[in-house]
């Protein structure tokens, strides 16, 4: 009976998430865009982001009331001092709704998998999220948003974090910071128990243990404190990404120790960087 109750709660919560996202993407946002343009306004994407913000808040509010999700932000005052360039790990499917619910305006960098997803394409387009098909162009675009006073969220792994730990970090976030002349605001998302990972079905959602998302905002990483300014841009991006990687590895190691499974997962996560030295700063999967 408990399992049936859990499954019903999960079904309601995720239907709200999935259908709500689709209704926003396919109906509400396109209509809103039309009306906005008809009124002669050119900031339809910002209007759409406020709608996404409201949608994400309502979803998380419902999920919290149903006992499905707990979200706890820590040291997050910096988020409100925006514009900020948030660089986060990406353990679960609902990390972006968590950011969207917390931030009234946020430009996500979205991978082609999301921007071409028929379910979400409309949302990505309407909200004007930055597509990463062309790495160099997306860096310029994200930097332009920051210079215009908009906040940007980047998942430097380019995909959801694997169960065994963080993957290689792309250098895009560092390039954006260098291009925009801004700090990197590292954010560590911890989910206990781990759930909604890539490839995991919603039916496996551990509703009974009421999963908890702790979102910890770190101290800003200021490029000027780590670079002397004479490095070529590509090298500067490698150094900054190395600092980011160390920040993430420290948290991933701590999380592994607290989970009582020793340092092994942290080592696994760190192996690419230590084994390959400068390569650990990691790059894209293709020279696009």
């Amino acid at each position: 009976v408990a399992r049936v109750w859990d499954l019903s709660r999960i079904a309601v919560g995720f239907s709200y998430f999935g259908l709500g996202g689709w209704v926003l993407a396919a109906c509400v946002l396109p209509l809103q865009r039309l009306v906005h343009r008809w009124r002669g306004r050119d900031d339809a994407d910002l209007r759409a982001q406020r709608t996404v913000h409201a949608g994400a808040r309502s979803f998380l509010g419902l999920a919290r009331r149903m006992g499905l999700v707990q979200v706890e932000w820590r040291h997050d005052a910096a988020i409100d001092r925006g514009p900020v360039l948030v660089v986060a790990n990406h353990p679960s499917l609902i990390d972006s709704p968590i950011f969207a619910a917390r931030m009234r305006q946020v430009d996500f960098l979205v991978s082609p998998a999301w921007s071409t997803n028929p379910w979400l394409r409309g949302l990505v387009t309407a909200a004007g999220y930055v597509r990463t098909e062309d790495g160099a162009a997306s860096v310029q675009e994200a930097a332009a948003r920051l210079r215009a006073g908009r906040s940007v969220v980047v998942y430097p792994e380019g995909t959801r974090t694997a169960p065994e730990g963080m993957g290689r970090l792309h250098r895009g976030a560092a390039h954006v910071a260098l291009e925009a002349g801004c700090d990197l605001l590292p954010v560590w998302i911890r989910t206990t128990p781990r759930t909604l990972m890539k490839g995991q079905s919603w039916t496996d959602y551990p509703a009974a243990s009421r999963p908890r998302w702790i979102v910890e905002v770190g101290a800003p990483i200021r490029p000027a404190e780590h670079l002397d300014g004479s490095e070529p841009r590509a090298l500067a991006a490698r150094r900054l990404t190395g600092i980011l990687r160390d920040w993430f590895e420290a948290r991933s190691g701590r999380e592994a120790r607290e989970a009582g499974i020793g340092a092994a997962p942290a080592d696994a996560a760190g192996k690419p960087s230590r084994a390959a030295g400068r390569r650990g700063a990691a790059g894209g999967d293709a020279v696009r």
Binding site: G135, L235, G283, G284, V287, R288
Partner: protein, 91 residues
Amino acid sequence: VSAPASDDDLLGLLRRLFALEFEIPAEEVVPEAHLVDDLDLDSVDAVSLAARLEEETGVVLEEEDLKAMRTVASIVETVRRRIAGSPDRAS
């Protein structure tokens, strides 16, 4: 701008640029090295590499050229052909 003539000259130039721009040791910059898998280049690196190559050789690399380049050898091939004045591109 003096354009290097031979493949060896071009490989030497690439080794110098890779060390300067990306701190990649010269011994790793071998013709068969894959730009992404072995040398960890990304799209932004490719653009800055193209700019440096243009400064050094006068050869302008188009976006399609960059996309076609997979290995160090393919950069050498593309630049050499351009210097020789052939419109053919290495693949």
